[in-house]
Subunit: 369 residues, 2 copies
């Protein structure tokens, strides 16, 4: 086994999920993530955690959803499994990123709605989502396989403690602020000028560890849960949503809700997301990507949204970690991220003060306020 | 997809497990059984059952067991999952039948003991175990891949109703009988002369369907739960137990327990089984193989024990289906089958009456009592 696979498992189990002896851990293995599953099982065995392994196969999901009449039920047993779990480790990495491309969007949304309680229980655990580099993901990224492995391991095996310190500065600004404004004025794309409230919301310093309320490996973003969004925004980073290619999405918000939208490609995929439930038309997340070891877009949200000099907004559910105790955030069965590149002709403001301009933060050399 | 994979899924879900709309079904997928999992998911979706998929990877299991200190716990969540499940479909078919060969036998037994309650809950569901034909299993059988596929599908896609009628005749004899005696006198192997009580035990007509209390696909055996075993028995069919090659096992029983044993190969694997717990030294099953569409030994217990003109005995736990209500049978964390070929120089007696001689039953042409 490639020694980097074991190092990945070490970071996942140790730094990210903080697994302890006796923890009940559910590990979900995508079709192409077998080797990482073996390394993770070895690590969990060494710690003395309890292991249960589920199979996260896109082809199995597709077959099930396509054959089903669309009236889904949740299983009590599956709910109990996650209610009792201490941690959930999702090992992504499939064999075909388009494996569910022909699944009816309505069936997909109905399934998600029926499983929302199970999903909540899963997200109440110390969950972490990562990916094993597969040829399919390399292809999606437009990269050779070995080149892609380098890319993934560079991102996963980062110096998380140092990045966490840098991100803490942005978290402090967001926590103290009331309003965020994102402005981008490029000649080659629709204008972005979006304002949202973040008052009383708590930003998460997402340093790839549950100890930071961060659930992705790699991570490297600071995110919060905005509300009362108004204005327009253009997402210039292409991506794949529910197996569909999406590019050039424009959203217009009024009073917190999407009131107009279009896309250069994959508009129906966006429409299906927006139609899932009322919460899918509101934002659940504003994230500021700060991980510069992710140096290119690879059409994989786990990496793209963390890339330095980007910002992403998610339609749908807000994370509890952004909410003061007792306060509820936006609720939805979906959480779909869309990304905008802020490296040029852009600025990010908090309460009227520019904190990032053209991809440079106020605390970095070269910043002009 | 090979159409036979879909037919296999149809027989498994329909005839074998009798899945109904709304059933909670846990499907366990071995490393090489992906295609069958897709076909089963399609069938379950069509019925409107609820699906959860687990990953039964031998390599993951090995990594976990080898790294663990050996003091295992069961997870409450996993127990709840199976307590709530209506059915459990185990899709075997790995990529290396020796994948767990170097796992310490003590660790394996300790793990099984810690998971006995979970296993009981799983066996209280409408569980069915089958295999998808893989190259690894073909190799184990000493067969070409396509030849092995033919073999598996011939066995799986049998005429189960007709076989069930034939097996019903043997069940009637076993249900009415008190004592079974197995005698084999071949010059080239140790003598077999074993007697066991079956009084008040209920034979199962194992016609590959939960409707017959039968949980294997393929099946084709009649089995019961013997006790008070005495005498000696030689198992001439080679097999693989816990990843170890075992051949020529001889057991001597007194007062129901193994008091002496040896093997031409793999004796330590047998010893580890016997040392699991006290119940592992007693028999949990006597099975009479009656499936003549299984026409050769393939070193896979699922098929070998069903082969016509064989008998098998299992060390360890008895199945509840063989016991009158309220009576408890032999208990153990293991259930390990050993097989003897009765096609030559052999006879099977019930209460002194020969019911099979040299592989021919009393109701078949050519039988001499």
């Amino acid at each position: 086994m490639d020694e980097r696979v074991r190092e990945h498992a070490d970071v996942l189990v140790g730094w990210s999920a903080r697994i302890e002896p006796g923890d009940d851990v559910v590990v979900d293995v995508a079709e192409g993530a077998h080797d990482l599953a073996v390394a993770v099982a070895e690590r969990l065995g060494g710690i003395g955690a309890n292991l249960m392994v589920t199979y996260g196969s896109d082809e199995v999901t597709r077959a099930y959803l396509c054959a089903h009449d669309g009236v889904f039920e949740a299983s009590e047993g599956e709910l109990a499994l996650f209610e009792n779990a201490d941690a959930y480790l999702r090992l992504g990495g499939g064999r075909n990123t388009a494996a569910t491309a022909d699944v009816d969007a309505g069936a997909r949304a109905a399934y998600r709605r029926a499983h929302s309680e199970i999903r909540e229980a899963r997200m109440d655990t110390d969950w972490v989502s990562t990916v094993h580099p597969t040829r399919s993901l390399a292809q999606q990224a437009g990269m050779a396989y070995e080149e892609y492995q380098e890319f993934v391991y560079d991102a996963v095996l980062s110096d998380w403690e140092t990045l966490a310190e840098e991100m803490a500065r942005v978290k402090t600004r967001l926590d103290g602020g009331d309003t965020v404004r994102i402005v981008k004025e490029r000649d080659d794309q629709p204008r972005t000028d979006l304002t949202m409230s973040i008052a009383d919301r708590i930003a998460v310093n997402s340093a790839a560890s549950v100890a930071y309320d961060s659930h992705n490996l790699p991570s490297g973003e600071v995110f919060t849960a905005p509300y009362d969004t108004g204005g327009e925004v253009f997402f210039d980073v292409p991506m794949t949503i529910n197996g569909r290619r999406v590019r050039g999405v424009r959203l217009v918000f009024e009073d917190g809700e999407v009131v107009e939208f279009d896309a250069e490609q994959g508009e129906d995929a966006i429409e299906a997301v927006l139609d899932t439930d009322p919460g899918a038309r509101r934002l659940g997340e504003l994230g500021i990507g700060m991980n510069r070891s992710i140096d290119r877009f690879t059409d994989n949200i786990l990496f793209d949204e963390k890339m330095g000099d980007t910002v992403h907004l998610a339609l749908g559910r807000a994370y509890d970690s952004n909410l003061p105790a007792g306060e509820s955030g936006n609720e939805s069965a979906v959480h779909v991220d869309l990304i905008s590149d802020l490296s040029e002709a852009s600025r990010l403001e908090i309460d009227g003060e520019t904190i990032q301009r053209n991809g440079t933060f106020w605390f970095e050399d070269g910043f002009e306020a």
